[in-house]
Assembly symmetry: C2
Homo-oligomer: 309 residues x 2
């Protein structure tokens, strides 16, 4: 198949490109490097089935090639420090970016795949979160540029599905980690790993009792590839329900990598969600999918991968 | 002052134009008539301080005149039948339309006023709703094209305020009624009044126990004009907290207009909010504002107004 991936130089996007190329598809990557990394494009440039367009998908997707089978929209700043640095760009890639992808899919009679996020649940009052939970998001907080952009992206994807007949998919990605995350990603896994690499103390925001469920990127990509083959249009959670408090996770990193590390506490950021954990019953039933990577393996793998660069 | 009003041919927009002209301002109206009515433009065309641009603000606001003091963004389909007929246009006027207004304000160093809605609260689980309530909105339901567009509009307005320094205002308008609503508006007040005028039965959806708080348009406009003079950037509820069940409201219309009318029940539409009532403490404190029009007066006034056309 011929598949256009926006955000191809991002963390998740680059792993998706790799998998699609491995499966024999032709992939057109698009990125503007606002948060993606050029090194993630360079990985594939010599591949005969990969081509790349440097463009801001919020302004339009300048693809004029042969017909597409899929438009997969993975472009967006995704870590709080990045989207808070670029709030307007983050809002635009959720609205205009998503719509440009949907219009491109419409022109090519292609299917459209939206990478949404567990952040649509905000600071959830239901735990774990099934797809039917409507969320608890502050529409005017400093995180709203991301959360509301993704909620909007879901709404316009459903509108194109219902009104224009586009064959759509929506996933809500929970915290994911793995190689090729930006060192300055700012989220807890990369922070801990890089702090550990540099022999620094591990920083926990708040008292560390907020929970996260960390999914290794290979598991996520497996879920994405499975969903492409299933005709289901409403959002599907993809995440690892194995829940850690941030403090437990710090201790896991400390124990696995360097028992000498200290753990320090800093004040929590605005609207930081206190708990988040996916209900993955739907993905299990529909995709026969379940995350396989244990946190201990994932952390060691990530640590070794970064150490070797 | 020189004030550009998007959605000037809409119900609320046209009352705002009238008030601003009455106060001696110069007003540029913009509308594409997707839900606005040409008759609402014709009302002011002979006024020396009014000019009009027919344009879709989602595509851009083609204003090239003298500097503006205000950009007031009131364009959007607002009734469920309309926005469900035009879901993509409704999403766009919330995203691109709002952003085009913010950019125009930025160019002119003008202030920006966003007409948001109580629909950002969705089907609220807190009652009444203060501005600090984050809402309960289904991001993928058939109403999400409106609800999520307005939440996005609030988020991007706050982003332009925080990041670009635009002087912004946000109001959340609760159910409002009055002259110049479209006869096919589809919301309960116009439905009842038009059914009463035609001697038809009054249609209640569901069992009629869902509540609404109905605000007469003159009260809303007074609140808007007051907020323009106050430097406050977070959302403010404008609505009448006097709560009726839909059934009580039907009975009020019946008693005031024609005691012979029957009340009939039909099945409820998807995601129809069960209760909504503003907490207007903030507007009372900040604007010294409180809605003054009693429902009995408002209904009779509206009935007489429509009857005379």
């Amino acid at each position: 198949m011929r598949i256009l991936v926006t955000g191809s130089a991002g963390f998740v996007g680059s792993h998706l490109v790799e998998r699609l190329l491995d499966e024999g598809h032709y992939v057109i990557g698009v990125d503007n490097y606002i948060s993606g990394q050029r090194s993630n494009t360079e990985l594939f440039l010599s591949h005969i089935s990969f081509s790349f367009i440097e463009a801001d998908v919020s302004q339009g997707i300048p693809y004029t090639g042969e017909p597409l089978d899929w438009v997969m929209h993975f472009a967006s700043p995704a870590s709080p420090p990045h989207y808070q640095e670029f709030p307007i760009e983050t809002l635009m890639v959720g609205a205009q970016g998503t719509q440009n992808g949907l219009e491109l899919a419409l022109v090519h009679n292609a299917s459209f795949f939206l990478a949404s996020t567990s952040e649509v649940y905000g600071d959830p009052q239901m735990h774990p979160q099934p797809e039917t939970y409507w969320g608890n998001v502050n529409p005017i907080g400093v995180r709203s540029c991301y959360d509301e952009a993704k909620r909007y992206a879901e709404a316009i994807t459903m509108a194109y599905h219902r009104k224009r007949g586009v064959n759509t998919r929506i996933i809500r990605i929970f915290n994911t980690y793995g190689p090729r995350m930006r060192p300055d990603d700012g989220r807890v896994v990369t922070n801990f790993i890089h702090q550990a690499l540099e022999g620094k103390s591990l920083t926990v925001y708040g008292d560390g009792s907020q929970t996260r469920s960390f999914q290794y990127v290979d598991d996520l990509i497996e879920g994405i590839v499975r969903l492409m083959k299933v005709n289901y249009h409403e959002p599907i959670n993809l995440g690892n329900p194995n829940e850690f408090t941030v403090l437990e996770f710090a201790e896991l990193v400390k124990n696995q990598i360097n028992p000498e590390l200290e753990i320090v506490f800093e004040s929590i950021t605005q609207d930081d969600p206190k708990r988040r954990k996916p209900d993955i019953g739907l993905a299990q039933r529909l995709l026969k999918w379940t995350p396989k990577t244990l946190a201990i393996y994932g952390i060691k793998n990530l640590y070794n991968n970064i150490k070797d660069i």
